[in-house]
């Protein structure tokens, strides 16, 4: 004896946000029922486990039917099958495209290919995000990537319009797309301490200042590819470390400005040449795709780690980088002010963001 068929269909589609989350998190129906029971919804409403099971099944079915529409969220608004109030549609979409930081951290910068998809079970095991949820998130990344790849115009805006996401989420996706496109290395052990939000911030900076889109806003991939001309120009910055006079001059300017303002002054003075070489070398190498990928690891190895071992505080860092950047303007033989600013602006804010434990 068993219930062979059990459906409940409302004219306005009924969706329980809690169940939706459980579904998104990849819980099986039975696990979801368990979670709900523990959540106390039963006591709250004197229902039996059967009722909960039936309700959960119904909702899961509804979500599965909706999933196809969620793949192109614009359809959700003008499809006829489900009558869902717009504010609820927005919630459905936003939640569907939300992702776990732990998961995204694992795939950030990786190629969104079948190969990566095969590794999802490992990632699932590592992050304790269910495989089902991993797949959804991965497919979301891929889908967004594919759609915006062929579009002109600003990346964030494209994502927001095509997937009807909030500004925040659209920016996160822009970061994911940007990282996947440029294949930035984020998985190395030294980078483990960085969160997705750190990277997303940096991606925002890079997109805003270093891509083609920063100068021309009507080309394809404008926000995904770095501005080649700019990268070429960065080579010119090498003069800051190759010209000995310039290097000394720069150092003395920075030290004068810093003296007495920080406890770490001695370390700064001692390390100035190393640090400056580090930053300028990163800039000079960015024409190589390989070095672009290592951008973040280079930043950490060449700059953040030395500073951290010298126990700079965050404000020390801020002080140092500000003066380091500004002093270059006073160097009369240094002609590449514009490139310098475009470079250092991003570097500065990235390092500020990345300089934590």
């Amino acid at each position: 004896m068993a219930v062979e068929l059990d459906v409940f269909v409302g004219n306005t589609t009924i969706m329980d946000e809690e169940v939706y989350q459980l579904w998104l998190d990849g819980y099986t129906v039975n696990d979801a029922v368990k979670v709900r029971m523990e959540g106390g919804v039963l006591e709250e409403f004197e229902a039996s486990a059967d009722v909960l099971l039936s309700d959960t099944m119904d909702q899961y079915r509804t979500f599965q039917m909706c999933e196809r529409l969620l793949h192109s969220p614009a359809k959700l608004a003008n499809q006829l099958l489900f009558q869902i109030p717009p504010h609820r549609q927005a919630i459905l979409i936003e939640r569907y495209y939300a992702f776990d930081d732990a998961f995204v951290r694992e795939v950030l910068g990786k190629k969104l290919s079948k190969g990566t998809k095969k590794d999802l079970d490992d990632i699932s095991a590592k992050t304790s995000v269910t495989l089902k949820s991993c797949r959804r998130q991965f497919d979301n990344f891929k889908r967004v990537f594919k759609v915006v790849e062929e579009l002109k115009g600003p990346l964030v805006e494209n994502i927001r319009q095509h997937f009807l996401l909030s500004d925040k989420l659209a920016r996160d996706y822009a970061a994911i797309v940007f990282f996947a496109n440029n294949r930035f290395e984020t998985g190395k052990r030294k980078l483990q301490y960085l969160t997705f939000q750190d990277f997303a911030f940096c991606a925002g900076q890079l997109i805003n200042s270093w891509t083609i889109g920063a100068v021309d806003n009507m080309v394809e991939d404008m926000d995904v590819d770095l501005d080649k001309e700019f990268l070429q120009e960065l080579k010119e910055l090498k003069i800051l470390i190759t010209d000995k006079d310039l290097l000394d001059q720069h150092k003395s300017l920075v030290c004068t400005a810093l003296r007495g303002k920080t406890k770490a002054f001695n370390e700064m003075e001692a390390n100035f040449k190393n640090l400056s070489r580090g930053l300028v070398n990163i800039a000079a190498k960015l024409t190589n795709t390989k070095d672009v990928r290592d951008f973040f690891i280079d930043l950490v190895e060449k700059f953040i780690e030395p500073c951290r071992s010298d126990r700079w505080t965050a404000s020390d860092m801020r002080l140092y980088l500000t003066h380091y950047t500004n002093s270059a303007h006073i160097l009369d033989t240094f002609k590449h002010q514009v490139v310098w600013d475009r470079y250092m602006g991003v570097i500065k804010s990235c390092i500020f963001k990345m300089y934590h434990d």
Partner: protein
């Protein structure tokens, strides 16, 4: 050639990918009407094609316009092979044929395929130009309006109610044609869909013709059903109530014709009080500033501000109540020209109707005079005995017979009419149970007399054939008048305990009242109502032909009896005394019969307080047994007390008599609680009355009875914040807010255990229904406080071991904080001026027809085995009504009666409209759906036409679609979507009186296949948010918002 149909195909969107190579589709469209087909150009390589076609014009007869649907087929062009069909859209153009309904159909329709479901959408524009405007009513029945709503539609007034119309058409079921063996399932399904669409159109046209013949212009309470008889054919039948409706322009005063039609009998003329000429009663109108169901009391402020000039003969002391009914009919003009004269004997204009039946369930104030009780009839027929299956005669005769029976039952109850009438069938293989039920009633003939409408002089046969004088006494108070017995106290049709009305103290009332109608809004109730269900399963042996039919016939009376007993006990348990909206469904399967009775219980203030339930043991000496009985008795008493609290039933002072000691029961008595299969011998002269004496004594002498009592007590009350009923509105709740959530739920239960007992089955069935209700409460918990209204359960036995229950209902929110009282302007009066002796309505009316009944029942039809004369005939509600007599026998009954009634003076009702947040940006218009005839907080300003749709869905990949649940879930969602799309295309924003009349599911999981048929209907309307000022009909906002309160669970 009286009509030109024009269609334009605009665009498509979300089309499926038909060409795998390009991931695109080369779509074009065929537009077909009758035998004419047009095609659009191919729109290559697009999933969102823009055809923007020319206007395709069809020049057709209006008869075809009524019968045929416009058929739109979307195809994928293929250069080398046959074009692939993507899907179809059938558009019923009937709404365009009526000037008062929609003028254009325009919008996005889901493209539907019976195998794949919805595949994209298509934007279509349809118009109709009717020529010969003056003439067009002659040729066909174009222009007759159809309403599913079982009351006078909100923006009309009934100038006249003509009466019963019915029609039945038969055709061969395409699924059983030989060609079906060689055609694809898709072709077969489409043939069936198309045929039913055609038959529905034809049926509607034929009924329309009858209505025109009667002089009416509309059918209200239109109920269309189809019977899948299998080999013998496919029957589409419909019943309805013919009316003459006048459209009310909102806000304006209704017609004030003072005309008496010349063709009315002179007697009628003479007796027409001059004072009445001022105005015909107006009813059925929705008062604009009104959020709930209509009550006539709205109008009272007007009348009280300028008291009408009562005629001198009127007993003035208690005038207010007696005239309320009629006064309330005249709110519109503001001047009370309409004077009720107490001494004028109204000429009862009752034309002879073959069947004075009304499918309406709620009535204009004053229409319903008295209610007798439920009448029902069932008959078992064999479909393979139909001589001429392609002709409707045999089925017509069957129904005729049943209707005659209903009529004679009504007559026996002293009533001349049957209201809340409905018919249904249950078919299993070659056996078919035909059922009809309704409520015997006495109606005010004034509403059936010729009204102010000027009807052509062609046919007045109807109005002049028979007139019966009836001395119409001063009307009873509306709040209790309908409860007063219509039959003669000295010559009662059955033994009943009568008391003086607890409301007016003038007239006699029965102790319990069962009806199939909605509770009259003016009725005085104490506390709230609740859903009461009786559920029953009876096993039967598998058999064929006549043996089978006989077995079923024998079982039916027992089932009816037990259902009735259950209902009665449950009613007592809730301390209520009346049932409204009673609907009893008996469904037949190969090895069992299912019975489900649903009704809304209520405590009518006018009726005496119900007695309690007394448990009696069989062997008084047995101490342990005694103890057991005491425990159960205590549980029952506790439940009653709890229920009284729950439903806020606190009638004044109860006096309890001392409980007598239980007395042993005779054997005979106990048998009635058990399976009756062995007792078929005694049944030919089934006298259920031996059970009536102790209807409220439950005897436990064996385990079966214990089970019965347990099942009685297992009905869980709805959780806090929830109420439920199966009527339009919940008695006792008046402050609805705008949250509305209509839903359909289906459950199928598989009985795996082959050797089940009746008791075991009952338990399963009861649990199934109870669990369904629990699920609803849980799912809709975010809407609390809310009420599930119009809970409509349908049971079926689709296969040997399957039980299917389908429910459609609406959850509506209400404002808890406000006083749960009726509007303040409701007059509460004790006592009334009903002093004159009520003359029994002459029964000669029915004299000839009763002889017909005898004839028909004695005549064995050659075409079919007539089982109607078997025991099931005895089991009508007429018989069962006898059961309600209190048992006084042997003092084993605790009689609890209330002596005095405090009049709960209602507080003012203020309306609160939960503000509808509106969400911009959605391109799909919101369409609300409800099984009720109204949407709370809104006013219907236009009826756009009837929605009557039939869909078939089939799959050969059941597992891939998520099993049967997944399959049916998406199908129901698709049906909703198609209904909404059609309504939106008509320019509407809501469907009222929505119902799913058929949901036939066949599955074969082993073959990975399933098929489902769904038939839905309703009225498409435009409704607007009710503004506080009724004066601005032009500036009202069309309801565009999503029901913010009805988003469902969060």
């Amino acid at each position: 050639m009286p009509g030109k149909l024009k269609a334009k195909i605009v665009a498509g969107r979300h089309l499926p990918v038909m060409d795998r190579a390009s991931d695109l589709t080369d779509a074009f469209v065929e537009v077909k009407f009758g035998n004419t087909t047009f095609k659009t150009d191919v729109c290559p390589k697009s999933l969102n094609p823009q055809w923007n076609s020319e206007w395709f014009k069809f020049e057709v007869d209006d008869e075809d316009l009524q019968d045929e649907p416009l058929q739109i087929t979307v195809l994928d062009h293929d250069t080398y092979s046959a074009n692939d069909a993507i899907g179809k859209v059938y558009i019923d153009i009937d709404p365009l044929l009526c000037s008062e309904a929609a003028s254009v159909i325009s919008g996005w329709f889901p493209i539907y395929d019976t195998i794949h479901g919805i595949r994209g959408e298509i934007n279509v524009l349809v118009k109709v130009e009717l020529f010969n405007d003056l003439n067009r009513f002659r040729q066909s029945s174009c222009g007759v309006k159809f309403f599913c709503t079982t009351s006078i539609p909100r923006c009309y007034r009934a100038a006249m109610v003509h009466g019963f119309v019915e029609e039945l058409v038969v055709n061969e079921d395409p699924e059983y044609q030989w060609i079906d063996r060689i055609r694809t399932p898709r072709a077969s399904n489409e043939a069936r869909q198309r045929l039913i669409s055609l038959m529905s159109g034809e049926l509607q046209r034929k009924i329309g013709l009858k209505v025109l013949e009667m002089g009416g212009n509309a059918v209200v309470g239109y109920l269309q059903c189809f019977d899948l008889e299998g080999e013998s054919g496919l029957v589409v039948r419909a019943i309805g109530t013919a009316c003459t409706l006048d459209k009310l322009s909102s806000g304006s005063a209704p017609n004030t014709n003072t005309h008496v039609h010349p063709n009315t009998a002179p007697a009628s003329n003479a007796c027409n009080s001059p004072s009445k000429d001022g105005k015909e009663p107006v009813f059925g109108e929705d008062l604009p500033s009104f959020s709930g169901p209509p009550t006539p009391f709205r109008a009272l402020p007007t009348s009280s501000s300028s008291p009408p000039p009562f005629s001198p003969s009127k007993p003035c002391s208690r005038q207010s109540s007696s005239s309320d009914t009629d006064l309330s009919l005249t709110p519109k003009t503001g001047k009370n020209t309409y004077v009720l004269s107490s001494i004028v004997s109204d000429q009862a204009v009752f034309y002879l109707q073959e069947f004075p039946f009304f499918t309406l369930t709620s009535f204009p104030p004053g229409f319903l005079v008295h209610v007798g009780g439920v009448v029902s009839a069932r008959s078992v027929k064999l479909l393979d005995r139909i001589h001429n299956p392609d002709e409707p005669e045999t089925r017509d005769a069957w129904w005729e017979e049943i209707r005659q029976e209903i009529k004679s039952h009504a007559k026996a109850l002293g009533c001349h009419a049957v209201v809340g009438y409905s018919e249904s069938t249950s078919i299993c293989e070659e056996v078919c149970i035909l059922s009809a039920s309704g409520t015997a009633a006495i109606l005010n003939p004034r509403y059936m007399r010729e009204g102010c409408l000027d009807i052509g002089s062609t046919d007045h046969r109807l109005f002049t054939v028979a007139f019966h004088l009836r001395q119409f006494e001063e009307p009873s108070p509306p709040s209790c008048g309908f409860c007063h017995i219509p039959y003669d106290e000295l010559n009662m049709p059955f033994p009943a305990q009568l008391t003086y009305c607890y409301h007016c103290r003038r007239q006699k009332v029965p102790d319990v009242l069962f009806t199939t109608i909605d509770m009259p809004p003016e009725a005085a109730v104490t506390g709230k109502g609740c859903l009461i269900q009786a559920r029953l399963c009876r096993l039967k042996k598998k058999a064929q032909g006549e043996v089978n039919a006989t077995a079923i016939s024998n079982l039916l009376p027992f089932m009816e009896y037990e259902l009735h007993t259950q209902l009665m006990n449950k009613l007592k348990l809730r301390s209520m005394n009346a049932l409204f909206g009673l609907h009893i469904q008996i469904s037949v399967g190969e090895n069992m019969l299912l019975g489900l009775a649903s009704a809304t219980g209520v405590y009518l203030t006018a009726l005496p307080a119900p007695g309690g339930i007394q448990i009696a043991g069989k062997t008084p000496g047995d101490l342990s047994n005694e103890h057991h009985i005491l425990t159960i008795q205590k549980r029952i008493n506790d439940t009653i007390t709890k229920n009284k609290e729950l439903y806020q039933i606190n009638p004044p002072e109860l006096t309890e008599e001392v409980v007598g000691s239980p007395i042993p029961e005779p054997r005979q008595r106990s048998r009635l609680f058990r399976s009756h299969s062995e007792s078929s011998d005694e049944l030919s002269e089934l006298d259920l009355s031996h059970g009536k004496k102790d209807a409220f004594v439950l005897e436990i002498d064996d385990t079966d009875a214990v089970e019965d009592i347990h099942s009685l007590l297992t009905d869980a009350p709805p959780p806090t914040g929830f109420y439920s009923c199966n009527t339009e509105i919940m008695p006792g709740i008046y402050n609805w807010t705008t949250g509305v959530q209509m839903f359909t739920s289906v459950r199928v239960f598989r009985l795996s255990n082959a050797n089940l007992t009746n008791q075991g089955l009952n338990k399963i069935f009861t649990d199934l229904c109870e669990n369904l209700l629990k699920s609803f409460y849980f799912k809709l918990r975010s809407m609390i406080p809310c009420c599930l209204c119009h809970l409509n359960f349908t049971v079926a036995v689709p296969e040997e071991e399957l039980i299917q229950v389908a429910v459609t209902a609406v959850a509506m929110t209400f404002d808890k904080d406000q006083t749960q009282e009726k509007p303040a302007d409701k007059p509460v009066t004790k006592g009334c001026s009903e002093t004159e002796e009520q003359l029994q309505f002459p029964l000669e009316l029915c004299a000839d027809s009763s002889s017909i009944t005898t004839q028909t029942s004695s005549k064995i039809s050659a075409a079919s085995v007539d089982y109607g004369s078997f025991a099931d005939r005895c089991s009508t509600w007429l018989e069962l009504l006898r059961l309600k007599a209190h048992t006084i026998r042997r003092g084993s009954v605790k009689t609890i009666s209330s002596l005095e009634r405090s009049s709960p003076l209602p507080e003012g009702r203020s309306r609160s409209l939960r503000s509808n947040r509106s969400f911009g940006g959605s391109s799909v218009p919101v369409v609300k759906m409800t099984p009720l005839s109204f949407l709370p907080g809104t006013r219907i300003i236009k009826y756009l036409g009837i929605i009557n749709m039939f869909f078939i869905r089939e799959t050969t990949s059941l597992r891939e679609e998520g099993g049967v649940s997944g399959f049916l879930h998406s199908f129901i969602a698709e049906v909703f979507a198609m209904v909404r799309a059609h309504v939106a295309a008509l320019g509407g924003n809501a469907v009222v009186s929505y119902s799913m009349k058929e949901c036939v599911l066949m599955e074969n999981p082993n073959k990975n296949q399933a098929q489902c048929l769904i038939n839905v209907s309703g009225d498409a309307v435009i409704c607007v948010i009710e503004t506080d000022q009724e004066s601005m009909p032009s500036t009202i906002n069309v309801v565009q918002t999503c029901s913010s309160g009805a988003d469902g669970a969060t």
